[in-house]
């Protein structure tokens, strides 16, 4: 490839890169008004021992995925509050936070404890609601 063609290719890729970021911004849910909340599940999900449930969390379902399970739900309030609540909840419960990351519209807290590992995935789906997907893997 000639140098000119290489520069052109890099430029095109950078343009594509810019488009990717823009797509992400367009999809942000924090500005949307919330529709009615999903119904709570009947009963409680099966969670590891001492697993934290912060205030204002509603569980909506649990499904088995092979050896693991995924609990779904939501928390009233903004993403940042949910992120902080889970991090401090894990600390208080004696779990280890192995990794955590918060971006504009989504966040993850990975945990180890209660004979399990997994992740709490949070997405701010609308103005005042953060959806939750908790993956639990047995140890």
């Amino acid at each position: 490839m000639s140098k000119g063609a290489g520069v052109l290719a890099a430029f095109i890729l950078l343009l594509a890169a810019g488009c990717g970021s823009e797509k992400k911004a367009e999809e942000g849910g924090a500005e949307k008004e919330c529709s009615s909340a999903p119904a709570a599940m009947a009963g409680n999900p099966t969670l590891p021992a001492m697993f934290p449930t912060p205030d204002n969390v509603t569980y909506t379902g649990q499904k088995k995925t092979g050896p693991s399970s995924v609990v779904s739900g939501f928390r009233d309030g903004e993403l940042g509050d949910a992120f902080d609540a889970y991090k401090s909840g894990f600390d208080s419960a004696g779990y280890q936070v192995t990794h955590s990351e918060k971006e504009e519209d989504d966040a993850e807290v990975n945990f180890a404890g209660g004979n399990s590992t997994g992740q709490v995935k949070m997405i701010q789906s609308c103005k005042d609601r953060t959806s939750l997907a908790i993956t639990i893997r047995p140890q």
Binding site: G66, P67, T98, D106, E108, Q119
Partner: protein, 405 residues
């Protein structure tokens, strides 16, 4: 003249070996210990990621405690031999390397040697569960999908499909580490497993093992093996006319698989494998920038086959991990204000960076894994290139990475 040139070279070598001590510009050395001769794809992948990070850091200027440094990258071939890896580690220590980046070969033996001098080892390919443990191996870090993550994600993906699964693992270290993780992942869903079969790496024909799987009633094969063994397994199944769904690990990405199946490219169609996601939640932008820089520096990695008339390339996904590792090492070096090995090692538990794909990378005192289990996705081959599957929640959100040039 020749003697003077030799003297100059010796002086340069001595200066380089001095690390950060003394005045002027210092040099820090990162040793890449990888299987360049036995598995050039993996070796070059690991080394090029480090090289790219070093070149960028050298270009933008690296300093610590007011002194300028440049990074030197030294490639040492371990030939997939733990013995060679030990020799390479001794060599790295003699060179006062600030860190060793490796595919993972021989780490069970090398970590102690390196730890005696507080030198960090960063694994960027192998995912064996026992390789990394912050409590017992404080100097070992990893940025690569773990076997635990691959095995659990494969079980989570396959078991709900109600498949009768034959687990095929080869007798290499890679295969045996995988076997341990598969046993762990499938222990609570063992009814889904109809056979556990070991594949001899040096066998020329794996028809007997594949026939054993077929007779067990398997409706899917999950193969955890080195690329040539995986290729022989595909050949054994398809040449017998058995269209059983095939599942595999990141070794399926290795060009060797597509090269060895070049005469029967359709045999690869439908093979699904687990690997680490290339792009992050942020979008494909950071990955594209990294990929462009990688190709600008080293050229594309051509697989040696064509798809719809265009040359197929292998995306530098694992190179991204060694790139991130080198950047973390540099960040730790800067936080430690120099080459004091103990301080650099301690700083690696504290620093974090934005990695090549935009994801935050970093370690802490309880976690030396840079890739979380939940970042494992699934891709399926079609006409010699792979695309994320649509029937997995994470994978279905990921973009298709262009793999032709």
């Amino acid at each position: 003249m020749r003697a003077a040139a030799t003297l100059a070279l010796v002086l340069l070598a001595l200066a380089a070996g001095c690390g950060g001590s003394g005045g002027g510009r210092g040099t820090i050395t990162i040793v890449v210990d990888a299987p360049f001769s036995r598995s050039p794809y993996i070796g070059d992948t690991v080394a090029n990621g480090v090289r790219l990070a070093a070149d960028q850091l050298n270009a933008q200027g690296l300093s610590a405690a007011g002194k300028a440094y440049r990074i030197r990258v030294v490639r040492l071939d371990n030939a997939l031999s733990p013995g060679r890896a030990v020799a390479n580690t001794r060599n790295a220590l003699r060179r006062h390397a600030v860190a060793i980046v490796t595919d993972g070969t021989g780490v069970d033996a090398t970590w102690k040697l390196a730890n005696q001098q507080h030198v960090p080892i960063c694994i960027t390919y192998q995912g064996g569960t026992g390789l990394v443990d912050p409590k017992t191996r404080p100097n070992v870090f990893r940025i690569a999908p773990t076997d635990h993550g691959l095995a659990f994600r494969l079980a989570e993906y396959m078991v709900p499909k109600r498949l009768k699964i034959a687990l095929l693992t080869d007798d290499s270290d890679y295969g045996q580490e995988g076997k341990a993780s598969l046993d762990d992942a499938f222990k609570t869903v063992s009814k889904s497993v109809v056979a556990r079969i070991t594949l001899p790496s040096n066998a020329s024909d794996l028809a007997p093992q594949v026939l054993q799987a077929r007779r067990s009633g398997a409706t899917a094969l999950l193969v955890w093996a080195l690329p040539p063994v995986l290729a022989k397994t595909v050949v054994a199944a398809r040449s017998a006319g058995w269209q059983v769904p095939l599942y595999a690990t990141p070794t399926a990405e290795d060009p060797v698989l597509r090269q060895q199946l070049a005469d029967h490219p359709s045999w690869l169609d439908g093979l699904t494998f687990a690997s680490g996601r290339m792009t992050a939640e942020l979008g494909s932008g950071p990955w594209s920038t990294f990929e462009a820089a990688y190709e600008s520096a080293f050229g594309a990695t051509f697989v040696g086959v064509k798809s719809q008339g265009k040359r197929v390339i292998s995306p530098p996904d694992y190179a991204m991990y060694s790139y991130d590792c080198a950047n973390l090492i540099a960040a730790a070096f800067q936080q430690a204000s120099g080459t004091n090995a103990k301080k650099v090692l301690a700083a690696l538990n504290q620093v974090s960076i934005h990695g090549a794909n935009g994801d935050e990378r970093g370690f802490n005192e309880v976690n030396h894994e840079g890739v979380v289990d939940d970042d494992v996705y699934f891709a399926r081959f079609e006409d010699k290139i792979f695309r994320p599957v649509k029937d997995d929640p994470l994978s279905s959100t990921l973009p298709v990475i262009n793999q032709v040039r």
